[in-house]
Amino acid sequence: MSNKINDIADALWKDESERNWKEFAKTLPKSGLRYYRVVFLKGEKLKKAQDLTKSYAELYDAKERLVAKIPIFEKKGKRIEGATYYMKGLLTINKVDEWVK
């Protein structure tokens, strides 16, 4: 199952299109994924939408094992928009101390 998620993650890194995000959202409920962690570059301020391209989300299974990393933005033509909406159903993970600023 995680292979499919990895394939979709790869597809998303190549093309962060709505089509790929919808495919991701469709696969999510049966993927075995349970947790996520959004990672922004440490010390970096979010100044423009382009900065989202430097950030990513880590996806974990129910045993809190890292399964995949995905982008957190969607390309709409030339525009970049946040895409955490497609991660609905996952829960935030509070395991890593460094995450807490």
Binding site: K48, G82, A83, Y85, G89, N94, V100
Partner: protein
């Protein structure tokens, strides 16, 4: 933290919400999916026999927590109300964070213009922030959303402003008198649904919710509403300590609110 009489708070908030609905032609409410605005929706349901008789606006910057989006859809379906989602751009902002700052009010302006709303219910509380303490229950904004906090109408004997000299709108604040602990006591008493992010997992929870970028978790073992209430009874840490400092700075917040920030 001072606990207040929930019945008195509820009564006043319901009065303000009903007054607003009666006085304004086209009203809407802002909903961030946080505990305060969800409590405001619960109060609205109580005020109008289980219905929410106006649309609810969510200003979405695209990087909210997935749990927040889940909660939005779940509650809108359960309580049967209309949600207007405004997509706010993440772009350079000289005042606050690019993910909120002036960008969220810009999106709100577009929605207000599109739907012609003349009043907006916003669930701020005086105890959240010094600048919010300067607000009135019904607070005028001009056509550019500007707030003149130095010249606000008096609110004597429950008589609130409902007329505007300009083409602006009125911000309605039914929760101004509530404290954080009052909200949680009310959530417990009325069994108000809340975002799961408020509850502790692995020793951390969110005490105040924004987006994934400007909100951080705080250390806590409160896994349910009772745990949160118990924690708040002894805490000396500010509620919004987990929010990005570039927005929470007193001066920045004052400037943001002048520009129409919620």
């Amino acid at each position: 933290m001072i606990k207040q009489d929930l019945n008195a708070l509820e009564e006043k908030s319901i009065y303000i919400i009903r007054e607003a609905k009666l006085k304004f032609k086209n009203i809407a409410a802002l909903w961030s999916m946080g505990k305060d605005s969800t409590t405001m929706l619960a109060l609205t349901r109580k005020a109008f026999m289980g219905k929410i008789p106006f649309p609810v606006i969510h200003i979405d910057n695209g990087i909210d927590f997935p749990e927040t989006y889940d909660f939005r859809e779940e509650l809108a379906k359960k309580w049967n109300f209309k949600v207007i989602v405004g997509h706010s751009e993440i772009k350079p902002d000289l005042v606050g964070s690019a993910c909120c700052g002036k960008n969220k009010p810009e999106t709100l302006k577009k929605i207000m213009a599109e739907y012609g709303f003349d009043a907006l219910i916003v669930s701020i509380r005086r105890d959240e922030h010094g600048i919010r303490a300067k607000e009135r229950y019904m607070s005028p904004r001009d056509e550019k959303f500007r707030w003149n906090y130095k010249d606000q109408p008096a609110e004597l004997w429950d008589d609130y402003t409902s007329k505007l000299d300009t083409k602006g709108h009125i911000r309605v604040h039914p929760l101004l008198d509530w404290n954080e602990i009052d909200i949680w006591n009310y959530v417990k008493r009325e069994n108000v649904p809340v975002n799961s992010l408020y509850f502790s997992r692995n020793g951390f929870r969110y005490r105040s919710l924004g987006c994934t970028h400007c909100t951080v978790a705080v250390k806590s073992n409160a896994k349910n509403v009772d745990g949160i209430i118990k924690e708040l009874e002894t805490t000396k840490i500010e509620e919004r300590s987990g929010r990005s400092m570039d927005k929470e700075n007193e001066y920045v917040m004052q400037r943001l609110r002048q520009f129409g920030y919620m």
